[in-house]
């Protein structure tokens, strides 16, 4: 190993070649732009990116004309309703895809490397959530663009609020992605989050307008809160069959699931630094 000489060292071991020990602890729990850059590069790998782009596109194009006969909405049309639903679904799927990278990090012992680094646990979780939320913007933008070309009609406020809520609501599923990533093995994690999201999307009233008992069950599912909030401007909270969902309950649903997933994520994370 031919190693050229490194920074000159004062001889006393009590004052090693790195002088200001106190100044070395990095601010913001160690989070920095370079680290986030590498994290994003890992996250936006070809497979995940294609999946994130393609699925919402195909689903939207398949579903935006499937309006029930009596579909009327106070502030827009059915395409707008579907666009919002697919945006929520796309953002959630993109956000939960952190599970794949996290699962690999856990299997490879990267969590131990992180535990020995200046990146404090909140910093690690923050970077994961940030890259999830950035990734979630991609399908939201795509579905929004598709919407403009496929005859979505809605007021300007509805356009902005629905897509914005769909995007930010993905934080709930970013937390879920961390939980799944820490809980699952790398070989199962490839399919589980995608399947989970699709199931939750049907259950959460995203693809097919639900009514009656199904809608009642739906109210307690994790995607219902975000989708109801995202569509509130469009629907005033009414389903196509006339049932009303209150804004307050949608907020409670969102906050509760976010809290639940975050709690599980933090608990799993605390356990994950020890030896496998």
């Amino acid at each position: 190993m031919s190693a050229p000489s490194a920074p000159s060292a004062p001889s006393a071991p009590s004052a090693p070649f790195w002088s200001a020990r106190g100044a070395r602890t990095s601010p913001f729990s160690g989070v920095n732009a370079v680290f986030i850059g590498y994290e994003l590069r890992r996250r936006f790998n070809r497979q995940t990116t294609i999946f994130t782009l393609l699925l919402p596109t195909v689903l939207y194009l398949a579903l935006f004309r499937t309006a029930p006969d009596d579909a009327t909405l106070p502030h827009g049309n059915f395409a707008a309703w579907m666009m919002t639903g697919i945006a929520v679904y796309g953002a959630a799927t993109a956000a939960v895809s952190s599970a794949a990278t996290i699962s690999m990090e856990k299997a490879s012992g990267w969590m131990r490397t992180m535990a020995l680094s200046p990146l404090a646990p909140p910093g690690y979780l923050f970077v994961k959530v940030l890259s999830s939320v950035l990734m979630a913007a991609v399908p939201v933008v795509i579905v929004g663009v598709l919407g403009t070309f496929t005859g979505v009609r809605a007021t300007a406020t509805v356009w902005v609020t629905s897509l914005l809520v769909a995007w930010l609501g993905s934080a709930v599923f970013a937390a879920l992605g961390i939980t799944l990533g820490l809980a699952l093995k790398p070989d199962t994690v490839m399919h589980m989050p995608g399947l989970t999201m699709t199931a939750l999307a049907f259950l959460g009233n995203l693809f097919i307008p639900l009514s009656g008992t199904m809608l009642e069950i739906s109210r307690y599912s994790p995607m219902f809160g975000v989708s109801t909030l995202a569509r509130y401007g469009l629907t005033d909270g009414y389903s196509f069959s006339g049932e009303h969902s209150s804004l307050a309950l949608a907020v409670v649903n969102t906050v509760a699931w976010f809290a639940a997933f975050s709690f599980m994520a933090v608990r799993r994370f605390r356990k994950s630094t020890g030896r496998g």
């Binding site: 190693a3 490194a6 009590s14 602890t25 920095n32 590498y38 012992g109 990267w110 030896r275």
Partner: protein, 319 residues
Amino acid sequence: MIKSRPRPVSEEVTSPDAVQLSSVVKRFSDTRGERFTAVDGIDLRIRRGEILAFLGPNGAGKTTTIDMLLGLTRPDEGSVELFGREPRQAVRSGQVAAVLQTGGLLPDLTVEATVRMLGSLHPGSDADAVLARAGLDGLRGRRVAECSGGEQQRLRFALALLSGPELLVLDEPTAGMDVVARRDFWAAVREDAERGMTVMFATHYMEEADRFADRVVMIDRGRVVADGSVSDVRSALSGRTVSARTGERTAAALARSPLVRSCTLRGGRYHFDTTDSDALLRLLVGQNSATEIEVTPRSLEEAFMTITQHGRTVEEGTR
């Protein structure tokens, strides 16, 4: 083989030791729910600038001790201090760095990306210098998954250097390396150690302890069984093995002699571990039943076996 290096050892009363483990105990429960004690009351003090080899057979508690030392697991009893601070603090600030046995790297990153990504967490670190010091300049663009075990180990070493640590902890750093890779690895570590860095390394290889450490601590079944300078431990362990084919009764009689420390039967031969091989030879030659007598200097490996077995039969005898 023992090179005495002038090592500056801090005399200041105010500066705390690099490592201070006080009666540290760790218990685990196995899959059937039975409790067992992995580390059973270890006291260990490492002064600044020391190079300490941490030896022990598999399952002796080396990795568990290192995990507690680094704050990765909490001891059930006792306390750990690094430079007078809580382990996690010292580790997170980069004052203490570790090269762990396996894993810890992302297979999809390149060597350079790994160093730069972790380097970003240590403000002021120099990724290029560290890559060069670990001999990784030619491997910058290689993905970690495609690196050999030795190359990955050098990468772990590079990462440990990023913060310019005062204490470097290495957990069996050369396991799975070939002879050349091991030599190169230790050459790089030695270069850093000579700058005054404190080093603690766990190893299986006696030879590494012998060539590299100032002090040797042996543990077995979660307890310290020997602690001293390399030369102390060597002289305590010095001696030869005399082996011969002989009858059971003769062997038993010889084993009772004060010259013989232990006697084992392997492959039809009795092996006598002795402090005075010449005297034992005279005795043995006088026995007509003894044939094919051989005298061999004891390897450190054997010495190590003796010490740990001794610790097992005569509880804490060598403390």
